[in-house]
């Protein structure tokens, strides 16, 4: 139980501080399908600095989802190393990964992934529950997050009572509530019409302006163009890494 604490605190001392939020070194992810080994990622290395707005773009099957899972600490690589905020997270146990996800990653999913039977407020305070924040503090932080995404007046609504755009904004508030190192968005506008999609992308821009680090994963060029840097992925490798102004 204390090992995750010991681990991260020791590695804070051990790893050299270098200002990167994400640093990957030769990431491989291999799935063993009996006789055949499928390489979803083949040696991916890159860095993302604090405050950057990056899009990871590639067609389906390119390995971008696998890369996203690794970045989001939902999975660990078969080979290679990954430092998140100076911590080596690529060899952590399940429980330690959960802790990192809670503290450092703010997920935004294509299908919103809200709890259907809970209010918006409860959805947003969920990450705070899992790190033991007491109730009063939780409510305050959740309300603050909902205010940031302009949904303060819809706090007690259930997802079924919200439009698609509003649901995504609840998800974004949830992603923000723990002050994560990165906001990791997987096709955030995939289930929204183009107008609402634009609203959401504007929101991301606002979040970028206030200093958040944003990693966007998408296959659409229009969406990726909102970011300020695009990492193109194909066949498990980085094809191109370009800055977009």
């Amino acid at each position: 139980m204390g090992s995750q604490a010991e681990l991260s605190s020791a590695q804070e001392i051990a790893a050299p501080p270098d200002g990167t939020v994400i640093r990957t070194e030769n990431l491989w992810k291999t799935y063993d399908m009996g006789a055949i080994a499928v390489h979803a990622l083949c040696g991916v290395s890159f860095e993302i600095h604090r405050g950057e707005y990056v899009a990871i773009m590639g067609p389906s099957g390119s390995g971008k989802s696998t890369l996203m899972n690794l970045i989001g600490c939902l999975d660990t690589p078969t080979k290679g190393r990954y430092w998140l905020n100076g911590r080596l997270v690529s060899e952590l146990s399940d429980d330690e990964l959960a802790y990192i996800r809670n503290k450092e990653i703010g997920f935004v999913f294509q299908t919103f992934n809200l709890l259907a039977r809970a209010t918006a407020l409860h959805n947003v305070e969920l990450p705070l529950i899992y790190n033991g924040t007491p109730a009063k503090e939780r409510i305050e932080k959740a309300q603050e997050a909902l205010r940031k995404v302009d949904l303060a007046d819809r706090m007690m609504h259930k997802p079924s009572e919200l439009s698609g755009g509003q649901r995504q904004r609840v998800a974004i508030a949830r992603a923000l509530v723990n002050n994560p190192s990165i906001i990791l968005a997987d096709e955030p506008t995939g289930n929204l019409d183009s107008a609402t999609g634009e609203e959401i992308m504007n929101l991301f821009e606002r979040l970028y302006q206030s200093g958040n680090t944003i990693v966007l994963v998408t296959h659409e060029h229009d969406i990726a163009a909102h970011a300020h840097r695009i990492i193109h992925v194909r066949d498990g490798k980085i094809e191109r890494d370009e800055s977009v102004s």
Partner: protein, 473 residues
């Protein structure tokens, strides 16, 4: 604190942690480690680790508590959402709890009843008789053959040789089904006719409502007087003062000198259908050498136990019983009867436990099944929670608590149902809900929920978040 600091020394080797062995004689000062340059070099760095570690451990501990409360509300909400399903799920547990509590209530009621009516020989009193009561039919037959009845000589012997008693009295009664009492053409049948010493009114259950009991004078003169129970009075003298009137007991006239207070019914049989006459008169008229039940009353409970032993010793001596042989008489105290009763109740209770256990296990398996289905249904939700930072133990606890809350609710419903049923039973028979039955019922059902929830909860906890998120909601 210094002596365990060395255990925090870290070696950098491929990202793993390993603790160095404790050094018993470590002193405060820069730790040289074991010649390893990467070791934590100063106390202050190590202290920082310790501070952070305890802070994080506090967070982890409090987060379990927070998760537990969240799980509790989720459980109640889940119960509420699927009312019919919850009801069907909990049926086994409800039935088990209800059965357990109702049976315990009936037994409790009967125990109270027995203690009140049958085991109530009088305060601090025990009865010496030919045999031990309530020992079973075969034991009784054996005792009848082997044991000698207690006679007046024994009574006189004990009166003289037993020391320190508050009272010692005797009653002679042969249960005959043809005892009749008549008055002015009306007859009461199956009357319990007994001969008593005058102090039996102080020792026994009966109390004087009007008139008086026998006096020593009555006893010495073998007077033809009687002390009558309420049933006789109700039958013969509904509106007239019975004192001084003459009734015929088995054809012999007796004058009523006293009336007893109503006692009531025991197992449907009336305790008030009796006539008591002086023992001396009884000996003269009905039975030359009466067979007695000698009642000894002590001043307090401790003395009663001492007196029991003394009577036993005196009687054994009087009968010249060798050391190894059992008593050839019976010393009956409230405990004797309660013991026999408790054995009977124990048997009934054991059967009940068996039935309840079966229902609980069945109920538990049903809960486990439903929880498994629930876990499958909510795989996507579990994936969401894990992605937000729920660890295995958080998910485990959530589902175990859900299972326990469900089962406890079933237990609670069982308690309420049992209380209602017991109240109804009490109208016709006797039942009184003991508090420990309620607690046992609730505890047992919660435990069943906890136990049978472990397997589904651990399945939920082990789900891979990526797979779970891919599952459709």
């Amino acid at each position: 604190m210094a002596h365990w600091l060395p255990s925090l020394v870290r070696r950098r080797s491929g990202g793993g942690w390993c603790r160095s062995q404790r050094r018993k004689d470590a002193s405060i000062g820069p730790l040289s480690g074991r010649g390893n340059k990467d070791s934590v070099a100063t106390i202050s760095q190590a202290q920082t680790i310790v501070r952070r570690r305890t802070a994080r451990e506090r967070v982890v501990a409090s987060s379990l508590w927070v998760t537990a409360r969240e799980a509790f509300w989720i459980a109640l909400e889940a119960l509420n959402t699927h009312k019919l399903r919850s009801f069907l799920t909990l049926l086994g547990v409800v039935i088990a709890t209800t059965t357990l509590i109702v049976v315990m209530s009936i037994i409790n009621g009967m125990n109270l009843y027995i203690a009140d009516h049958i085991a109530n020989l009088g305060a601090n009193t025990f009865v010496l008789h030919q045999w031990k009561w309530a020992q079973g039919y075969e034991a009784w037959l054996k005792a009848r053959r082997r044991n000698k009845p207690i006679r007046m000589e024994d009574f006189e012997f004990l009166k003289d040789n037993l020391k320190g008693y508050k009272n010692i009295g005797a009653e002679a009664m042969v249960w005959r089904s043809d005892n009749q009492v008549r008055y002015k053409g009306r007859t009461v049948y199956e009357v319990r006719v007994s001969g008593d010493t005058p102090n039996m009114i102080d020792i026994g259950q009966a109390k004087v409502e009007a008139g008086r009991y026998f006096t020593e004078t009555d006893y010495r003169h073998e007077a033809m007087v009687c002390f009558v129970g309420r049933d006789i009075i109700d039958e013969f003298f509904p509106s007239v003062d019975p004192l001084g009137k003459e009734i015929q007991v088995n054809g012999i006239p007796f004058t009523i000198v006293g009336i007893a207070e109503r006692i009531g019914k025991t197992f449907g049989e009336s305790e008030d259908n009796f006539v008591q006459i002086p023992l001396s008169t009884y000996g003269k008229l009905f039975m030359a050498r009466p067979q007695l039940a000698v009642s000894v009353q002590a001043w307090n409970t401790q003395q009663m136990l001492i007196l029991e032993d003394e009577v036993r010793a005196l009687m054994r001596g009087r009968h010249h019983l060798p050391y190894k042989e059992d008593d050839d008489f019976g010393i009956n105290a409230s405990e004797t009867l309660m013991d026999a009763w408790n054995k009977l109740m124990g048997g009934i209770f054991a059967v009940t436990i068996g039935i309840v256990a079966v229902f609980m296990v069945v109920g538990g398996i049903v809960i486990m099944n439903i929880m498994l289905a629930s876990v499958t249904e909510r795989t996507h939700e579990i994936g969401i929670r894990k992605s937000l930072g729920a660890r295995r133990r958080d998910i485990l606890m959530q589902f175990i608590i859900e299972s326990a809350v469900m089962a406890c609710t079933g237990g609670g419903a069982g308690v309420i149902l049992a209380v209602l049923i017991s109240k109804i039973v009490d109208i016709f028979f006797t039942a009184s809900v003991p508090l420990n039955a309620v607690l046992v019922g609730l505890f047992l059902s919660t435990a069943v929920g906890l136990f049978f929830g472990i397997y589904p909860a651990s399945k939920a906890a082990k789900l891979d978040p990526i797979e779970a998120l891919r599952t459709e909601a």
